[in-house]
Each structure stands twice: as structure tokens, then as C-alpha cells.
Amino acid sequence: MKKSVLLGTIAVAGLASGAAYADGHSSGTLAEVQERGTLNCGVSTGLTGFAAPNAEGEWEGFDVAVCRAVAVAVLGDASAVEFVPTTGQTRFTALASGEVDVLARNTTWTFSRDVDLAFEFIGVNYYDGQGFMVPRDLGVSSALELDGATVCIQTGTTTELNLADFFSSNNMSYEPVPIETNAEAQQQYLAGACDVYTTDASGLAATRATFEDPSAHVVLPEIISKEPLGPLVRHGDHEWGDIVRWTLNALISAEELGITSANVGELLGGTENPEINRILGTEGELGSMLGLEADWAANVLAAVGNYGEIFEGNIGESTPIGLARGLNAQWTDGGLLYSPPFR
């Protein structure tokens, strides 16, 4: 009886301390981030080329660069980012619960994620798609020749469903070899447990780059799914969504207009091109419309470079991953990157 009193007291105390946390919802995400002084950015726990800590513990990668760009736009400091590693299971909760302000974690933009989970995809920073990799010895040059092949596939992903669709629509059969992680897939594939490894094309390229002899393996030309990967924010704070969206658009437009981290200082002196001037804030008041400094985009470009520079630095052809621009080229070069105008 004595202890039941104690337990009751403890329970009440627990509730009281819980209530102490409930101190009301604060205003906008922008104000929150600026007050905090750091941007909380959800990234992958490790995906080659997209997000990984280096030997010094600094986060690097293509998705990481988006986080840094937003941090520069909002706080003026590319290092003012708290990177929150998220797994496939925890990423959406982290965003929905407010643990992160932006989620830049190679997340495919789908209807249900956008609508049902109440998130706002602010654009696409990488157009990916599911592809196939086979050993060159197999002598296969097209995915349509893969009838009867054994395929290593990550279970519980959209890739599994895409694969089934592709084979049944082409009247072919296959034997799946279920695997759990990309690391396991690499081992199984190299050990010959399957003829074909299928995952997103960027993942295939990254995997192939780690092989002893990459030239002994080919990535087949067929891409069987659309995987537009983009950063996302919560529904309901459109000002914050606009900031992230136009930061990404600034990176893309800057490449189109030829603004690089090297020449941005020079271009800040004023140019003939009014759109460049508007982006860099020497003309018009686009920055203040977002609630940011006039030179927000100039700072972003000086700190992280334009889209093309980020691509080349992290996953492009000069890196071990060696991805070609492909769909991710500017629309002027036959790609899909098409930023709305800064006007």
C-alpha cells in the first residue's frame, strides 16, 4: 500500500514533467530555424555519393549539398546544419514530428507520400530510375533478353514491384533472390548467386564503381521505372516550402545561366542579364519576398556552387561513381532540369 502511494506520486510527477514540455506551437519554421541558429536536415544513414560522413566526420554528398544550400540561404553559413541520419523507416516520422526541418534523403516523389502523408515535395534534385546490371560475360545487351534470369532484389521496396511489372508485361519469367541491403546485394552478385542485380541506376553505378574490375560488368540501357528524388518539407508552412523550393531552383537556374561559385563574386558587380541580377539580388527584391537577405542566392552559390558543380563534385563523371548527367542535364541540353524563371 505504501508503494502504491509512491507509484501514484511518480506517475503524477511523470505527467507533470511531460506537461512541462508542452509549451505551445511556435510560429514559422523559418523563425524557428533562425532562432535556433542551425538547420536540422534529415539525410540518409549512408548512401554512396548522396550522403555519408567522411573520415573527419563531415557530411558530404549530393543530398547533403541541398541541406547546406538551404542553411546558407537561411542562416548564411554552410556549416550551420545538424545532420539527422534517418533510415527508410524513420525518415517520414522525423519530418512529420518536426525533428527535421527538411528531408533530403533520396526520397521518391509519389502521390501517396505527397498527399496522404501530408508532405510537400519541393522539386526534384535527381531523376533516377530502376536499372539492371549484369556481368559482361553473360553477353546480354538488353533487359529484354533476361528471360529466366535469377535477379538479386531488395525486398520490401518499390524496385521489387517494378521488377515484377516489367517481367510480366514483357512475358518473361525470372527467379528472385531476395536480399536485405545493398551491401549484401554486392556480395551475392559478385559471388554469382544471381545473374542480374537491379536497383536504382545511381545505386548500380555506385556499386559497380567499387568492384575490382568495373569493366567486367555492364549496366543495361533499359530504365524500367520513374524515381524522381527530391527534398521534402511538411505540409502547412508554405513560406518555408518556398524557401527550400527556390533554393533548389536557384541552384538549377544558376547552372543554366552560367553562374558558378568561381564567378559569382564578379557577377555580383552587375551584369547585362536581368535574370542573373535578380537571382543574385542586385536587382529586384526577390530575397525580401522570401523573408531572406537580398544576396541569399549569391551566398548559396558562393558556398556550394551551382547544380552542375554539386553534381560533378559528388556523383559526376570525375568521381569514382561516374554518373553521366543523362536525364539530369539542363533542359537546354536535352535533360529534364527546368527551373521556373526568377521574376
Binding site: 510527477a13 506551437h25 544513414t45 573520415a55 545538424e82 523507416q89 524513420t90 551491401a183 555506385a206 569514382p320
Partner: protein, 444 residues
């Protein structure tokens, strides 16, 4: 006759007159050869199995040992490792023929400390040393009992060293415990044992809830003493595993004892509460509790509330382990003969005295193997936090592989992590065996 005589003479000549010196037994029936014959080649099937086993061991070692011992320790990436190996003349179509231990050198700090600021590594190291020193008086009872004061202060010192920040926060929290102890000690005799116990628990809780915050502000403004604060997010690698494991072990032990006593209690509410708690916690996998800590609490807590993920994980791990410990200890309690309880009663001891002096010392002794095996399980279970995005050693092995330098490296990291866990768990296991032998008082 002469024949007989000659026979006798022969016989006499044949008999030795002096004793022979003792000879060593033949090599086949003594020493290692005897052992080998008896244990390995006692029969033809055994001999065949021995030869097959030796061959098998040879094949395994011949494959592994050169790979491990010729490992490359000095390289900046997997590609460099392969170049060095090729330059040495090794080759391999698939995988690599020698280990690339260089990844451990390159990422040693991360595997050990995670993102902890490198100039502050002395703090976790000091905290770990203190931890070892502080548990010594608990482990070995021939050390001076005064050292237990250090043990009591250790959690607060370690907390302060690891997380940094103001020195007043842990000090003032610790004062709450001192307050409770003081109430128990000095107010108990005057107001009665039961009221004393209740006061000793309620007063510190009120102190923590209402007096702690203002006091903290006052102390921080008057004397802002502190060291650089480190956020939980910076913790990683084995530091994270140790912090979660050690906190879980230390906190779950007393909680487990209380739950075990609660389950044995005749008081209805306490009994049912303990039973439900134990069965619910034990009936759900740890990974589910971790997801609860990460996902559900994230939804339930108001946005922006700063309830540290690591604290949530430690709480869940502690509760989970406490439920198991409680059942292990209940087994120990049940194993005691009824006479022990009755004897304690007949001496006029009250409940707590009889538990403290008679029952628990015996029950805990019986439970040692189970308790330690729960702790070993708890320590290994810390790697499950990888699923909620914390960078424990396994989480780091994934993150390290995500770097283009080390993509494609597997065995080296897993072998290292496995070895570290083995050393810790084996140490705990040996200690428990030593403790069992030391405490063995049964009449065999």
C-alpha cells in the same frame, strides 16, 4: 643330481641381486602421446574423425590466417589497398586476397567515438576510466567500503564528463538523492519508517520538479562553471554502445530487483502492476520498443520539445532489461526455501531488513549467471539502435561503406566489431564465473 644342481645354479644366476632403477613408462602410455592416443585415436572411427577435423581446421586457417596477417594497414582507400596488394604480387578475381585493415586506421576515431569532437576525446576516456574505478568496489568486496561514495557519485561525474555543460545540473540533481537519503536517515526515526520512506521519495521529486530549474538558473548566473557541451547526436561508435549498455545495466539492476519483489508481493496493486509491466515489456520485441521511442514519442511529444533520442533509447533499453532481470531474480527468490523467509520473520526483522539481510543476498547469488547473461544480451542488443538511425558501430560500418573510399569493404569492419563485442562479453562472463566460485557456500 648334477642336473638339479646345475639347474639351481642357473636359476640363481638368472635372479638379479639388486633392484632395477625405476624406468619412465613407455612413451605410448604416458604424456602427450598417451593423451593423443586416448583422446584422439582411441578407435578407428575416432582416428578418422580426428584426421578429418585437423584437415578442416588447416583448410580454414590456411584461408584466413594469410588473409588476416598479411593485411594492409596503411592505405587511404580500398582502391589503394588493392594497388598495394597487386604491387606485392597478390591477385584475385573476386574480392581481395588480403585484409584491408587500413579502414580501421582511417576510421578508428569514428568507430570508437562517433562524431564526438576530437579535441575532447580525453573526456570519454576519463569517464570510462572512472567508471572502471568506480565499479571496482562493487565487484571486489575486499576494497575499502568508503570507495562506494565514489561509486555513488560516478554516474553524475560520467554524465558531466560525457555531455559537458554546466557543472551545476548534475550536482543539483545529485543533491536530490542526498536530500532523499538525509530525510530517510534523520527524519525517519522521528516520523516513523513508513512516513520517512514516503517523504524520502516525494521530497526529492518535488525538489527536482520545482526547485531544480530556478536553482540551476541562480547557480549558473552566479558561478557559471562548465565545460564545453556535447550533444547526444555527436555520440557514436563504441562510445554510444558503451553509454547505452552501461546505463541500461546500471539502471535496470535496481529496477529489476524492485519489480521482482513487487511480483512476489502480497499487495494487490503492486503485484498486478509488476506482473503487467513485466509481461508487457517482455512480450514485445526490443526493436518495437525502440521504434516506439523513436517514432511514436516523436508524434506524441509537442513539436520542438527537446526530449533527447538517446535518453529515450536508454529508458527503453533499461525497462526492457529490467523486465528480464526481474524474472531472473524472481527465479532466485523462488529457489530459496520457505524456512529462510520464516527465519527472517522469527528474528523480528521487518520486510526491508529481511530482504536486505537474508533474502536478497542469497537470491542474487543464485541468480548471478542469469543476471550476467541478461546483461550480455543487453550489451549486444545495443546494436539494434542502428534501425532508428543512431550510429553505433554497425551503423558506422554502413556509413563508412557509403564513402566512395571504402565502398565494398565488409569483413574487416565486421570482424573488428565482432572482436570488440566478444572481448567485452567474454570479460563479463569470466567475471560472473569468478564471482560464482567466490560466493559458493553450498555444502557439496
Amino acid at each position: 643330481m648334477s642336473e638339479i644342481h646345475s639347474e639351481t645354479a642357473l636359476q640363481t644366476a638368472y635372479v638379479r641381486t639388486e633392484m632395477l632403477a625405476e624406468q619412465a613408462p613407455p612413451v605410448t602410455v604416458s604424456g602427450p602421446i598417451k593423451w593423443v592416443r586416448e583422446n584422439l585415436f582411441s578407435s578407428i572411427p575416432n582416428a578418422v574423425m580426428t584426421i578429418v577435423s585437423v584437415y578442416f581446421i588447416y583448410v580454414v586457417l590456411a584461408a584466413i590466417l594469410p588473409w588476416m596477417l598479411n593485411g594492409i594497414w596503411d592505405a587511404g582507400s580500398l582502391a589503394e589497398c588493392r594497388e598495394i596488394r597487386d604491387a606485392r604480387g597478390g591477385s584475385g578475381e573476386h574480392g581481395h586476397d588480403v585484409a584491408c585493415w587500413a579502414v580501421l586506421v582511417d576510421r578508428w576515431d569514428q568507430l570508437m567515438f562517433g562524431f564526438y569532437p576530437s579535441e575532447l576525446y580525453w573526456r570519454p576516456i576519463l569517464a570510462f576510466t572512472l567508471f572502471l574505478a568506480a565499479i571496482l568496489p562493487v565487484l571486489y568486496d575486499n576494497l575499502p567500503r568508503k570507495l562506494l561514495i565514489l561509486t555513488a557519485a560516478m554516474p553524475f561525474i560520467c554524465f558531466w564528463l560525457l555531455w559537458g555543460g554546466s557543472i551545476w545540473a548534475p550536482t543539483l540533481v545529485a543533491l536530490g538523492f542526498v536530500l532523499g537519503w538525509a530525510v530517510m536517515k534523520f527524519a525517519g526515526p522521528t516520523v516513523g519508517a513508513m512516513t520517512g520512506t514516503i517523504l524520502a521519495i516525494v521530497l526529492p521529486i518535488f525538489y527536482w520538479l520545482f526547485a531544480l530549474g530556478p536553482l540551476l538558473d541562480v547557480f549558473n548566473s552566479v558561478a557559471p562553471i562548465g565545460i564545453q557541451a556535447v550533444a547526444s547526436r555527436e555520440f557514436g561508435g563504441f562510445l554510444l554502445a558503451f553509454v547505452i549498455g552501461a546505463s541500461g545495466i546500471i539502471l535496470s539492476m535496481p529496477l529489476g530487483v524492485i519489480l521482482a519483489l513487487g511480483r512476489q508481493s502480497d499487495l494487490f496493486i503492486i503485484n498486478k502492476f509488476s506482473v503487467i509491466f513485466i509481461e508487457v515489456i517482455r512480450g514485445v520485441p526490443l526493436i518495437v520498443w525502440l521504434f516506439t521511442a523513436q517514432l511514436l514519442l516523436g508524434y506524441f511529444l509537442p513539436p520542438g520539445s527537446n526530449f533527447d533520442l538517446m535518453v529515450r533509447v536508454i529508458i527503453m533499453v533499461t525497462l526492457f532489461s529490467a523486465a528480464y532481470i526481474a524474472e531472473v531474480i524472481r527465479g532466485g527468490l523462488a529457489a530459496l526455501p520457505r524456512g529462510q523467509y520464516e527465519g527472517a520473520d522469527s528474528l523480528g526483522l521487518n520486510y526491508w531488513q529481511s530482504m536486505q539481510l537474508i533474502i536478497l543476498p542469497q537470491a542474487l547469488k543464485i541468480s548471478i549467471p542469469g543476471i550476467v547473461s541478461s546483461f550480455i544480451g543487453l550489451f549486444k542488443d545495443t546494436v539494434l539502435v542502428v534501425f532508428i538511425g543512431l550510429f553505433d558501430p554497425i551503423g558506422f560500418s554502413n556509413a563508412i561503406r557509403a564513402d566512395t573510399d571504402w565502398n565494398g569493404i565488409y569483413w574487416e569492419l565486421f570482424i573488428f566489431i565482432g572482436l570488440c563485442f566478444f572481448i567485452c562479453c567474454f570479460g563479463m562472463s569470466r567475471y560472473s564465473q569468478w564471482l560464482e566460485r567466490k560466493l559458493a557456500t553450498d555444502h557439496r
